[in-house]
Amino acid sequence: MTLLSVENLKKYYYSGVFNKKEIRAVDGVDIEIKSGRTLGLVGGSGCGKTTVARTILRLVEPTDGSIVFDGRDITKLRGREMKNLGREMQIIFQNPETSLNPRMKIYDAILEPLTIHKLCSADEENEKIHRLIEIVNLNKELLFRYPHELSGGQLQRVVIARILSLNPKFIVADEATSMLDPLVQAQILNLMKDLQEKLGISYLFISHDMDVVEWMSDEIAVMDKGKIVDWK
């Protein structure tokens, strides 16, 4: 069953006040991801892979094209449904150090999605958080520390725990492990694969490292200058 299908996705930026230059970051991209599967997206820097991810998540408004997620057309979604969409689609960023609010303790960071979507009452809180940190195997003492006291690998785990609190169906991993050390990268990638098997999450895995993408994805799309040029 296809979870996400994207047709003719376009995103143009306009620069310059007088000479209107049109930059075609994403120029007609078609993507299809089946539920519980991973699509790898590879390409040099500036090929538009990050813009594709941000447009699908509607963090950036697409110029053209349609996005159908879980059977619903979400290209023009607004208001309440848009908010619910936030529970099903999530993103992991490249730099763990800046992915968490430096002033917010880890406990509150993991709890935040639940508070925003008002999904859990006060007494359930503790139990939910402990279950989440077990899944991503983080130890308990870290809960009351601040992000600057944690290592890159630990921070990325907190980000994953945070996202899992809303049990999403689809996660975009935008160069999620490219800033991590080899051993830590292996840990995180294996964690993501286990989560896929256990919870049936599908990934759009973006990276410039071909070996990692091959290990991680079922299908791979290669992008260049805003278009998909090869499909493995």
Partner: protein, 288 residues
Amino acid sequence: MKKLNDIRNILKEAGNNRMAAIGGAIVILLVLIAILASLLSPHDPFEQKLENRLLNPCFEYPFGTDNLGRCIFSRLIFGTRYSLAIGVVVVGITASVGTTLGIVSGYSRGIIDETLMRIVDIVLAFPGIILALVIAGILGPSFLNVVIAISLTHWPAYTRLVRGITLSLREKEFIEGARALRASNIYIMRRHILPNCINPIIVLATLDIAHAIIFATGLSFLGLGIQPPTPEWGSMLKAGIPYFRISPHLTFFPGTAIMVTVMAFNFLGDGLRDMIDPKINEIILVSE
């Protein structure tokens, strides 16, 4: 409970930072003086005894008397109330207004940001004292008008500082992460941007109290601030000028009082700055 140990370790850290400790101690002392003014002052600050005009400091009058025979020591103690009040009230207004505008304009960018920044440019186009002078001149001298005059000219400092911080925060991934969670803009500003601006604001506010006090006493010195007979340091200093040759102590003691108070806040501000984020270079730039 969380809040308590945050405050405790800030105090602990303040302890070992010498400047913050000294500044903090003097400030607390001044606040006590202001509160217990009526108990501490030996004489009634308004009672005029013409026979004791222009006495030099003696046992009866520790700081001597002014041209109307009033005890300068008591008037200085009551004066603490006005200076601290102006400092705190002005900073309270300008910090809250300036910060809100700074966050809104930094976060929203686009038209709102442009217009707010142009308004800030216009207000800053007048050298600080000029606008305040004119407003006080028009509205007439009084405590409230002084507060209004200084507040109207001081809020842009916070807006610029906070906008700078918001713009740099906006680039960070955790803001986009919150947007991916579909959190509302208000929530993001309140829960993510504001907490990260608090520390620089505290530092700027402390330095700004010092600034506001100098400003207020300057206005009174020009006769446009708080009018005699209220025992405000600026007006006391101005009243002492005609008798400058024969009894300089009339101007000496109010001047020292202003200096000590302002120095205490500058000390505290510098100490906090070193403790919290030593390289907030633009705080000095913005606050001066």
